[in-house]
Each structure stands twice: as structure tokens, then as C-alpha cells.
């Protein structure tokens, strides 16, 4: 069983689309969570996923790095493409996928280790051969955290404030040199000042990374993202249950100023959700 090499060097002709789903449906046991999702995530841009709670934003995000594999009874139909690789192919090595497609979680979850080791661990297990000190410094600088922590690298990551912890988690993700960073409501546990810091950081990281962010905060989506997908709960005709669908996927400016879909308009003007 040979898994395809996932490094971008082998990803064929350059394309602007990094991640692409085709007719993606997700089921939790018998109930369907997402139906017929087809979107394409553009390279070096920030794509926001918005929508009312329970519409499956996070589920969709977790499809991109196969985090959903950890949930028992979850079934995925359709295809997810990372460059030219089918992520749902049974030959794909999920461990390699997760290295190329990193993730930042809703609640900051630093390891109960020193700040230094929080960054270094991921690199170490992935066989990093370079100068570790240099890598740690580079990642912390990139995450705009270096000046705040450079004198206490041996202190536990759990001693930082919430906003610092979240930036530490981002720095930790950067250390394994991913191509895509998935962010699952990264600011929902943070205060406004920390939120602003993380948003600035995202804007800055855009040059090197492709970012997909789930947010329940429409202002945030509007501030940071280039593209926005608005997910909606739609009555499923055959089952009579409500499942998540993509109502509209367009450039952020257009979606918020001139939405095509009436449901999107209703949502962004506050009539749904």
C-alpha cells in the first residue's frame, strides 16, 4: 500500500485551487449533516465559512484534514481534492495529510510543556533536520509572539494568557510547515484585543499560507476573508430533516454587499441564525 506523496512539488501544474470538494456529503450514523458541498479553496487567500450554528461549518472544516476520522460512526461521501490528490482515497496517509494541512482549534490547547517544546515537538516527530532553536524563533516571530515570550521559553505554555496561547498554537502549527491552516473559530474564546492580534496575524500569514477559517462572527469574516462560503440549514426532501448546504460561495465583498441567494441575505441581515 503506497500512499501518494503529498508534497506540493509533486502536485502537477500550478493551480490556484488548493482544496476542492465535489458533491461532499457527511453523515453521523443515520442523520445527514452536510449535503452536496462543492467548493474550491483558492491559494494564498483567506476563505471564511459562516452560517447559523449547527449548519456543519466545523464538520466541513474537519473534512479537509481528515480530523473527522476520529469520530466513530461518521461517514463521508463524495470527493475532497488537495491539489491533485483525492484525500478520501484509502491509500492516503492521514498523518501526512495533517502535516500539510494544519489546524488551530476553538479553545487554545497548548501542550502542558514548555513554550519551546510546544513548538519543537511537531517538528521533531516529523523529522526536522535543521536548527531547532532557529525554527522555534522563526515560528514565534511569525506568530508575533517572540517579543512577549523570548525570555521565558522554558516556562509552561499553559501559563500564557488566552490570546498568547492561541498565537502559540498557531506558531506550533507553522513549525511543521503546512501549506494550509484550518482555523475553527480561533477567536471565540478570546477578548477583543487578542482577537485583533490574531486577525492581524492571519492577514500577515496569507502571503505564505492558505487559510480556511470557521467563524460565527460575520464582522470577523468580513474583516479578514477574501472569499466567504455561507452555509445554511436546508430541509432535506427525502428525510424531512435539516442538513447543511452551501447557500452561496463568492468573494467576501460581494457576499456581504450584494448576496445572490435570498437565504444568505436573510442571514447576514440578521433574520436567520
Amino acid at each position: 500500500m503506497a500512499s501518494p506523496d503529498l508534497s506540493p512539488a509533486n502536485s502537477g501544474p500550478h493551480s490556484n485551487t488548493v482544496l476542492r470538494t465535489e458533491s461532499l456529503s457527511v453523515f453521523y450514523g443515520d442523520s445527514q449533516a452536510l449535503s452536496d458541498i462543492t467548493i474550491a479553496i483558492p491559494q494564498n487567500q483567506i476563505t471564511a465559512l459562516i452560517g447559523p450554528s449547527g449548519c456543519g461549518k466545523s464538520t466541513l472544516l474537519r473534512c479537509f484534514n481528515r480530523m473527522n476520522d476520529l469520530i466513530a460512526g461518521l461517514r463521508i461521501e463524495g470527493q475532497i481534492w488537495f491539489h491533485e490528490h483525492d484525500l478520501m482515497d484509502s491509500a492516503v496517509d492521514v498523518v501526512a495529510v495533517r502535516r500539510r494541512i494544519g489546524m488551530v482549534f476553538q479553545k487554545p490547547n497548548p501542550f502542558p510543556k514548555s513554550i519551546y517544546n510546544n513548538i519543537a515537538w511537531g517538528a521533531k516527530i516529523n523529522g526536522f533536520l535543521g536548527d531547532m532553536d532557529e525554527l522555534v524563533e522563526r515560528c514565534l516571530r511569525r506568530a508575533a509572539l517572540w517579543d512577549e515570550v523570548k525570555d521565558k521559553l522554558d516556562k509552561s505554555g499553559e501559563q500564557l494568557s488566552g490570546g498568547q496561547q492561541q498565537r502559540l498554537c498557531i506558531a506550533r502549527t507553522l513549525a511543521v510547515e503546512p501549506e494550509v491552516i484550518l482555523m475553527d473559530e480561533p477567536c471565540s474564546a478570546l477578548d477583543p484585543i487578542s482577537t485583533a492580534a490574531v486577525e492581524d496575524l492571519m492577514e500577515d500569514l496569507k502571503a505564505d499560507y492558505t487559510i480556511v477559517i470557521v467563524t460565527h462572527n460575520m464582522q470577523q469574516a468580513r474583516r479578514v476573508s477574501d472569499m466567504t462560503a455561507c452555509l445554511m440549514l436546508d430541509a432535506n426532501v427525502s428525510q424531512g430533516r435539516r442538513v447543511g448546504v452551501v447557500a452561496e460561495f463568492s468573494p467576501t465583498d460581494k457576499l456581504f454587499t450584494n448576496p445572490t441567494d435570498p437565504r444568505t441575505e436573510a442571514y447576514i441581515t440578521g433574520r436567520i441564525g
Partner: protein
């Protein structure tokens, strides 16, 4: 109802024709019940004190031949210390005044070593498998139910298993280990396996899911995640459960009686395939002696055993007090067994 009547509960019945709150009886029952319950709990301390006190006094005031009377307390203490020293150093003999537990202590040390080497990796491994490698499935339910039931099997039944399986090799000469340390250790390991598995599972469940996700999202394999994050975080809980399990193994007597622990062994055990005996087994045979002076020898042996076990128990409880939170209902399946 006036404010005044609130202050004087006894007057309530006259104040309100529809109720007879009977405050006086209730006001007596309430603290009475509290004290009954407290006393019941305090009995635990009393019993513990009685156990330790009775053993200690017997060592301090020896019975039977050679017992002295009317000597000062200081001399009694030095006599008791001399007795304990002798018990550690001497081998079994015929006279109560010269027997000791050296062979049993060495045997127990061998058992301790092998039980740790066998039961801890297997127990922690099985718990990791159940918690981290299997989702909800029939197979997991089967293994889980099986472990819960094994925890309630009387230790003497493990003795029968060890006797037939390890000592006699199911009747096949080539498989039979004979009455040796290894057979005893294997039996004790099976016996405490459920304790270690259940304790480790609880410790693993207490580790937040976000820690696992964080590691996996960086591209770690499951084993890298377990080795570098899960085990270090769950270590105090695993250690507590393991110490409690192992200390139970060291205090066990019944299964060892079945798996060939010798009543009276003169040769110190030198290897895993040697004949052996254990401290509690020697205590048992001394306690059974009709001669009263052996009662002091037994008490001395119990004192040695309790020192060992209480140190381990204190250590385990200390680790847990330092780190853990309140145990949930998950702890209620922690079954204990007889010996």
C-alpha cells in the same frame, strides 16, 4: 405567620392549623443522624487504629516462652527493635526465638519485581488499546465487561488457574514451570491486571480531548501522541492505580498457597525458576502455630508487611491528592476482591 414564629420553630403548630411540622422531633433527629453517620465513618479510623495498635502491642509485649514482665518501656522498645532486626535477618527455624522472615522477604521482592515487569506493561497497554485504539464497538464492550468481571473473581480462583496453568502446565511436562517464583508472579499479575487496566483507563479518560487533537493535527501518529503527551499527562493517575494494584499483589496469600509457595523454605530464592515463599505466606504459617510465642513472630512479620504496604499506599494516595480531581461515577466500578 409572624416573623417571631419563624424564630421559634416549636410554636409553628399553634400558629398554623393546617400543618404539624413537629419541629422538635425533627430538630433532634437531624443532628442525631449526623452524629450516627459520623461515628460510622470514624469507626474506620478506630478499626485502623485497632489493627495497627494490636499488632504493635503484641510486638512490644511478646507472649509465650521468654516473655518478660515488669521491665521499663524503653527496654521494651529496644527489645522490639532487636526482634524486628532478627526477623529480617534470620531464616525459618524450629524455635520461635530464632525464626525470621529472610527467605519470605526475598521471595516477596522477587514477586514484586516480576509482577511489575509483567502486569504493568500489559495492564497499561490493554487500557491504551481500549481507550485509544478502539471506538465504541461490540468487541470493546466485550473486553470491558470481561475486565469488570475479572476484577470480581475471588483471588483463590486465580490460585487454581495458576496452579493448573503455570505450575503444572495443563498437565504437559514441558510447559510446567513447577512451584517457582515465575509461576507465582504470573498468577499475581493476572490477578491485579484488571485493577491496573481500570485505573489506567480512568486516568486516560481524564486527559482532555483537545490535547489529543492538538497532537494529531500536527501530523503525529497515534503512538507519537500517546508516548509524548497522553502518557506523561496521565502518569500520576496511572502510577496511583499501579501502586495500589501492586501493593495488593504483595499482600496476597491465598493464591500463593495454591501456586506452590513453600510453608518453610530454608534456601533463599536466587532466580525466577527457584522455589520460593512469600512474607504473607510465612506469616500465615506462624499465625497458625499453637505455640503462643509464634504469635509474636507473626505480629512482627505483619508489622514488616504493613510498613511496606502502608508506605506504598500513602505514596499512592499522596500522588493522587496532589494531582487529581473528584472521581466520578466511573470510579464506582472499581471492584475489590477477597484474599
Amino acid at each position: 405567620m409572624s416573623v417571631k414564629s419563624l424564630n421559634k420553630p416549636a410554636n409553628w403548630s399553634s400558629a398554623d392549623p393546617h400543618f404539624r411540622p413537629n419541629r422538635r422531633r425533627r430538630a433532634i433527629m437531624d443532628p442525631l443522624f449526623r452524629w450516627v453517620c459520623f461515628f460510622a465513618t470514624f469507626l474506620g479510623v478506630v478499626f485502623l487504629g485497632t489493627v495497627l495498635g494490636a499488632v504493635f502491642l503484641r510486638v512490644l509485649y511478646p507472649a509465650g516462652a521468654g516473655a518478660k514482665s515488669g521491665i521499663p518501656l524503653g527496654e521494651r522498645f529496644s527489645d522490639a527493635c532487636a526482634l524486628l532486626r532478627r526477623l529480617v535477618v534470620n531464616k525459618p527455624g524450629i524455635e520461635a526465638s530464632e525464626v525470621g522472615y529472610r527467605v519470605g522477604l526475598v521471595g516477596s521482592a522477587w514477586l514484586l519485581l516480576f509482577v511489575i515487569l509483567i502486569a504493568v506493561p500489559v495492564g497499561v497497554g490493554a487500557a491504551l488499546y481500549l481507550e485509544e485504539y478502539t471506538g465504541k464497538s461490540r468487541w470493546k464492550t466485550l473486553v470491558q465487561t470481561n475486565i469488570a468481571n475479572l476484577a470480581g473473581v475471588p483471588s483463590i480462583v486465580y490460585g487454581l488457574l495458576g496452579l493448573t496453568l503455570f505450575q503444572r502446565g495443563l498437565g504437559f511436562k514441558s510447559l510446567a514451570l513447577g512451584p517457582c517464583v515465575l509461576a507465582g508472579s504470573l498468577t499475581l499479575s493476572l490477578l491485579i491486571l484488571p485493577v491496573i487496566v481500570i485505573a489506567t483507563q480512568e486516568a486516560l479518560r481524564a486527559v482532555p480531548q483537545s490535547l489529543r487533537l492538538a497532537a494529531l493535527a500536527l501530523g503525529a501518529t497515534r503512538w507519537q501522541m500517546i508516548r509524548d503527551h497522553l502518557l506523561p499527562t496521565a502518569a500520576p493517575g496511572i502510577l496511583t492505580g499501579t501502586i495500589l494494584g501492586v501493593s495488593r499483589a504483595i499482600g496476597e496469600t491465598a493464591p500463593l498457597l495454591m501456586v506452590g509457595a513453600a510453608a518453610s523454605l530454608l534456601k533463599v530464592t536466587r532466580g525466577p525458576l527457584d522455589r520460593y515463599t512469600a512474607l504473607p505466606v510465612e506469616i500465615f504459617y506462624n499465625a497458625k502455630e499453637p505455640d503462643e510465642s509464634f504469635s509474636t513472630v507473626a505480629a512482627g512479620g505483619i508489622l514488616l508487611l504493613l510498613c511496606l504496604l502502608l508506605t506504598m499506599n500513602f505514596f499512592a494516595i499522596w500522588i493522587r491528592q496532589r494531582t487529581s480531581k473528584r472521581p466520578g461515577l466511573a470510579g464506582s466500578m472499581r471492584t475489590k476482591r477477597g484474599g
